[in-house]
Symmetry: C2
Subunit: 477 residues, 2 copies
């Protein structure tokens, strides 16, 4: 088996190595499109399960809209088409003929969904209308990296229409909060919530809210976004409703999405030199049971006990599996499941059975003296649950500490760029709000990740004029 590249020296290669060696994705014959192999798809299924429930709790219903969008639809919202047209994949031929109007493969579905909304919304009674879809989307990207930026990706996109602007703003914030809580409580990724600068805003939105995460190499990653679209699409697609006074009004819309990128965030937040570490609450295998025996006579005894413990754990809601592969040594299995980031390894041999105990190994603990513990078979379900909770908490605390340690303050462009050259990280500073000042960051491959609530800096990092906002600057994926 291969070894992963050094996580501290070449993070990018370490990431590529993990993708291949943990069998998360594979290159496909189509540029920038990746195959999600079963192990990563299972993580996506778990993300979907939790997020879908939380989305439905907001009164949002799932539906499905067509993959293809007439090219003319994209053009109805001027900023939207400007933002997306360089990335479109276009169907020009179908059924053996050239199409009269080319069809765009959805890069996002605002245009087709708000077109449908215009048919469904007639009265204030039809509002709020809250629809979500789980789907694939396509954006023709130049440089792709699995999970983070791919030509095709999987996501959910929510679209809502409200009677008032305030209601739309509030709902947009509510959804950002759903994402933030999900990122923190399930993925164990501390999320910084803020507003995007005009320049980084979604094409067609009045305001884009974001949550940003900090990866181990000190770069930021946009995790999820939530947009106040306000009137842009409702006006372009003639959505009108009769309000309670009988007047015609345009509803205020929002859209919000989470993608398979979250899997990339997971890898880059928690992984270590031995491979992935998957937070227990999102892991498809929480406990891998490795039976250990040298002599054939012990095989049945150990395997039977392993199955018994697996069933006990499954009955207690723990996702346990036995690795009974005859072709691998126990050592190779340890390596394999460490690489794949299964939070807990349970080792079991004839001696352990004799002593009514098993060994629990904590994937998230690097200190070798604390990594292993013996627990009695009698208490195994309880102890496993304690350990899983503990790992979930530890991963979050560790990431939170990293975020804290890498959150710096700086006064000037020079200071920021100098520090960024030494080490990546997040730089809080003041900003006057002008695009010119923001644009200066481009040369250093940095950007404003978001505007912050707190206001500690008085002058703009670039022009030195009065700052209107504090912003967070970083290099980002």
């Amino acid at each position: 088996m291969n070894k992963l590249s050094d996580i501290n020296k070449d993070f990018a290669q370490w990431y590529q190595d993990i993708l291949a060696q943990a069998e998360l994705v594979d290159q496909s014959p189509v540029k920038g499109c990746f195959v999600l192999r079963p192990y990563s798809y299972a993580i996506w299924e778990n993300i979907q399960k939790v997020l879908d429930k939380k989305i439905k709790e907001t009164g949002t219903q799932n539906a499905y809209f067509p993959l293809f969008i007439p090219e003319s639809f994209l053009k109805k919202e001027a900023k939207h088409v400007e933002g997306f047209s360089p990335e479109l994949a276009v169907v020009t031929h179908a059924g053996g003929k050239e199409l009269e109007e080319p069809l765009v493969v959805r890069p996002t579905s605002e245009t087709i969904i708000y077109y449908m909304f215009s048919k469904w919304i007639k009265s204030w009674r039809d509002l709020p209308l809250k629809i979500n879809q789980w789907a694939n989307v396509v954006r023709w990207e130049m440089r792709t990296r699995a999970f983070l930026r791919t030509t095709e990706f999987l996501w959910q996109e929510g679209h809502t229409a409200h009677a008032t602007h305030q209601e739309a703003v509030e709902f947009s914030m509510r959804m950002l909060n759903v994402y933030k809580e999900f990122a923190e409580n399930y993925l164990a990724i501390p999320a910084i919530a803020g507003i995007k600068s005009d320049n980084e805003r979604f094409a067609g939105a009045e305001r884009t809210l974001t949550i940003e995460g900090l990866m181990q190499d000190g770069k930021a990653l946009q995790l999820c976004t939530s947009h106040v679209l306000a009137h842009s699409f409702s006006k372009s697609f003639d959505i009108e409703f009769q309000d309670k006074d009988g007047n015609l009004s345009s509803p205020y819309c929002t859209s919000w999405g989470a993608t398979t990128r979250l899997i990339g965030a997971l890898i880059m937040t928690h992984g270590d030199q031995n491979g992935l570490i998957i937070p227990p609450k999102i892991a498809s295998i929480q406990v891998i049971i490795v039976p250990i025996y040298k002599e054939e006579k012990d095989k049945n005894l150990v395997l039977n006990k392993a199955e018994e413990i697996k069933n006990l754990l499954l009955n207690n809601g723990v996702l346990a599996q036995v690795d009974s592969d005859d072709q691998l040594t126990p050592g190779a299995k340890f390596f394999k499941w460490e690489l794949r980031g299964v939070p807990v390894r349970l080792e079991l041999g004839p001696k352990d059975i004799e002593n009514s105990q098993v060994v629990l190994v904590n994937r998230a603990e690097s200190d070798k003296t604390k990594k292993k513990q013996f627990v009695s078979i009698e208490n195994v379900d309880k102890q496993v649950n304690i350990l899983l909770e503990n790992i979930q908490k530890t991963l979050f605390e560790k990431a939170k500490k990293r975020l804290h340690d890498n959150w710096h303050h700086a006064q000037s462009l020079q200071e920021i760029t100098q520090k960024l050259e030494e080490h990546n990280g997040l730089y809080q500073t003041g900003w006057c709000g002008s695009s010119e000042c923001e644009a200066k960051l481009k040369d250093y491959k940095a950007s404003i990740r978001c505007l912050l609530e707190s206001k500690e800096h008085k002058t703009c990092f670039s022009c030195g004029e009065l700052a209107t906002k504090d912003v967070l600057i970083a290099k980002a994926y």
Copy 2:
């Protein structure tokens, strides 16, 4: 509100009326692509939930493969490209440029999945490999009808590779059986299992197994198929494994799929003049609670009790909802939920509360004297469960009787076509096995739905020569 067209006089229009009035689908701006609205998408989610579990129980893992397939891949399997090329949608431009090689939007994923299999399968230890994906596919259809035949549709497609031919054949049969049991036990649709004739076989398969359902207009509908692909794709895509003796062999493959068409089958099997009837085991709302009060003073009392009963039912695993819409009369609500086919309506008024009772109304019962029953509030959860089970059973029995009543025997083409002119239905007859005899059915818009296990007919319906098989002939969707 509109009324549905007469189910006996114009079944096709009745179907269209239901689609619109029950808010199942809506036309999209793209020809042949339909929007699945929340009420039908919720049925699909339930189908997915059950089927996904059954698929995983066979040891199959979910994964995700790219939407786009290089055009050259389709051409690698001669029969496959012949079958699918008239239906392809093709991306020729992306990212503002013409592509060097056009990309086909997947009509099915054999070519890209078996290409990936060729990278993953090296040894007999890698077999069997069993992969499933839930995805959208596109087939450019001339005449479309929502759910039954649409340009884009949702499905699952399973793909497996096995060391031996026998294992592939057995697995293909196992999956057909998964579909048959699902159709019968969940959708309450009796399914006829059989083999497709060479002519109706999947493009690239050695054998296609099918389950067929009988719709209320006497037409057959192919519900699901399972294919023995054998060596076709494994040879075209150079999949080879080292067997236990160290020799290189090609694995034997299968593929199998179920689509959103099952929702159409559901509608056309169980619907009646008042609308849909959704089998309880697949319904997203099993019990709709309609609070009834005339005077404002009773409102709170009734609504509170309705909520209480809803929570009692939810806690007992029954999917219950209260329709507390102020804008509709109880009568309008009855109409609405009958149209949407919710299996049980629970009516509740102040008098009922006084008497500690509710009214349960059985959507599947047409006899007015048997449709309603009073049950005591104390027993409501138990009685609702009994009624739901009863409805599930009744729907299946009714459909089974219809299948039996419409299953005829016939000796000759003349007899079959004469009878088909009088009324649709299934016609069992003998067949010599020749394509010429099969082709004669085309003029009458009939086809061989499947070859049967039983052998009761001695001569071919067309040429009168010795029959090798009994077949089932019908008009079909």
